[in-house]
């Protein structure tokens, strides 16, 4: 790295833009799958388990992203196991685990009193405090996730549409689903720094849902979701910088604004064309 890039990376605003753009590039396609698979609550549960990962990381003195990733992976695999067993409805299981893991995480970090610890930063993200290491995680993990999703695109779509039909056509559905969940865990672990544990699911869902009415194909929806994510990051960071509002919540608020505007516009246009 030469001195120019170091000085640029020293600028917290540049780091924030890079981090936000990197996260949005991955949450676009992954969030589209979360929406298609009706897994928004699942994403939320994975994100909430991240606080336990933070506590684990602090306790063991390892990189926090590694701790979060480890817990998210275990949570994803546990949820997959529970989903296979019938008994409780999936939304009940997720409802229990989503808030249960969050509560456990809050209790766990309370035991770590001696560690200097910014709870709000983990819950709502602290995009202006991301380090060069965080950015390396976001881009390294993001590149891996995008490469996997691109490679598995058709089998993943086919398994999303109908698992049995995909199986009958030779798609290894269970393996594909496992890879998808691991990707989701990785995205949760890296996006946490930017938008926070409580808002990771929003970053997955809002851009994808905003893109839906303007898309005729799955690919277009994924690409539009990325662009809408970037707009949200730009708008949110602008708002945050100008009005000194928290970064993560500002990005999500801007995304919500885009969603409300485009959905409203769509409804109006439909009503007009209906006469």
């Amino acid at each position: 790295m030469n001195t120019d890039t170091i000085s640029i990376m020293d600028d917290f605003l540049v780091r924030a833009v890079l981090a936000g753009a990197g996260v949005a590039a991955v949450t676009g396609p992954l969030g589209s799958f979360v929406v298609w698979r009706r897994m928004s609550f699942f994403g939320d549960t994975l994100a909430h388990s991240a606080l336990l990962g933070v506590a684990l990381g602090l306790l063991l003195g390892i990189d926090l992203t590694v701790g979060v990733l480890a817990v998210a992976v275990v949570a994803a695999i546990l949820l997959l196991g529970i989903e296979r067993r019938t008994g409780l409805a999936m939304d009940t299981v997720l409802g229990i685990l989503s808030h249960g893991t969050l509560a456990l995480g809050l209790v766990a970090v309370a035991f770590l009193e001696r560690v200097r610890f910014d709870l709000m930063g983990f819950l709502f993200g602290d995009i202006f405090a991301v380090t060069a290491t965080d950015i390396a995680w976001i881009y390294g993990g993001g590149a891996l996730v995008l490469a996997l999703i691109a490679y598995l695109w058709r089998p993943l779509l086919s398994a999303t549409v109908h698992a049995d039909l995909a199986r009958a056509e030779g798609v290894p559905v269970d393996r594909v689903n496992l890879v998808f969940l691991l990707c989701l865990a990785l995205v949760v672990a890296t996006a946490m720094k930017v938008v926070g544990i409580l808002l990771v699911a929003a970053m997955l869902i809002i851009p994808a849902a905003t893109a839906r009415p303007y898309s005729r194909t799955p690919e277009r929806m994924a690409v539009f979701a990325v662009i809408i994510g970037w707009l949200s990051v730009a708008g949110g960071l602008g708002l945050s910088f100008a009005a000194d509002t928290p970064g993560g919540p500002s990005i999500i608020s801007f995304g919500l604004l885009l969603f409300a505007l485009t959905t409203g516009l769509m409804t109006l246009r439909q009503r007009r064309s209906d006469g």
Partner: protein
């Protein structure tokens, strides 16, 4: 698939198959086979285990006892029951067909012509009718150039005229391609004319044979009740009465009795 049978035999063959979910027996003691050019209809009431049996034939579920054999190298085209695509997923008919995987470039043109859906190829899957959707599912199964078509309730959500057309289409496809067909239906009289063999199940095997013998079988009558059996009987004896709109029996020459 547990085993692979030698070439020349049936495309799929289930013998003594039992499938359990936990301790619950979903189907038990079922023998069933489909050969080239043969249409086998699997009938039975709701919850009889028809879909479970289909899944066993496809190798999607492993029998707890018995065997499910597939002929070596046999390709299977599957049309599942109740495939609803989430409205959140934008998908055209073309892209839905593309999910079937690699196929010969000429195959799609031929399949579109066969199923008559060329007109709607670029329509979103959410905007087409129930009959068009079932034909699209059939087209995806055909793209694999299957030796065996496995169709789970192919005529669901299709009106009566459309149902007859769809079953005729399935018959034509069998004639043209010489493939075997295993299809699930809940009413025998609809599939009767296009079926070679009927297997009637209600968890266990009730009766099997040609449509004619099955419709006269006491266990079939017991399973579906007198009313269905009576409907079936219309195919076998001459009408000596008709049914009034209230279901009462009206004798052919007795209309004036109502006024009398």
């Amino acid at each position: 698939m547990d085993q692979v049978s030698r070439a020349g035999g049936p495309i799929v063959e289930l013998s003594g198959v039992e499938v359990r979910a936990g301790n619950r027996v979903l189907v038990t003691g079922i023998d069933l086979s489909v050969s080239d050019g043969e249409i086998v209809a699997l009938i039975g009431p709701n919850g009889a285990g028809k879909t479970t049996l289909i899944r066993a034939a496809l190798g999607l579920v492993r029998p707890s006892t018995g065997t499910s054999r597939k002929r070596r190298g046999a390709r299977i085209g599957y049309m599942p029951q109740r495939l609803n695509i989430d409205r959140n997923m934008p998908l055209t008919v073309r892209r839905f067909l593309g999910l079937a995987g690699r196929f010969e470039p000429g195959a799609r043109t031929q399949v579109l012509e066969e199923t008559g859906i060329a007109r709607i190829i670029d329509s979103p899957v959410h905007d087409i009718s129930g009959g068009e959707w079932q034909r699209t599912l059939l087209a995806r199964a055909l793209l694999r150039e299957p030796d065996l078509l496995v169709l789970d309730e192919p005529a669901q959500a299709v009106d009566l005229t459309g149902q007859a057309e769809l079953y005729r289409l399935i018959g034509e496809i069998r004639d043209r391609r010489g493939c075997g067909v295993l299809m699930v239906s809940h009413d025998l009289h609809l599939v009767m004319s296009s079926t070679d063999q009927v297997v009637c199940i209600n968890t266990h095997l009730c009766c099997a044979g040609t449509p004619d013998t099955v419709s006269r079988d006491p266990s079939y009558v017991a399973l579906f009740g007198e009313s269905v059996a009576e409907t079936m009987a219309l195919y076998h004896h001459n009408h000596d009465h008709a049914h009034g709109v209230d279901g009462s029996i009206v004798h052919e020459h007795g209309h004036d009795q109502h006024h009398g």
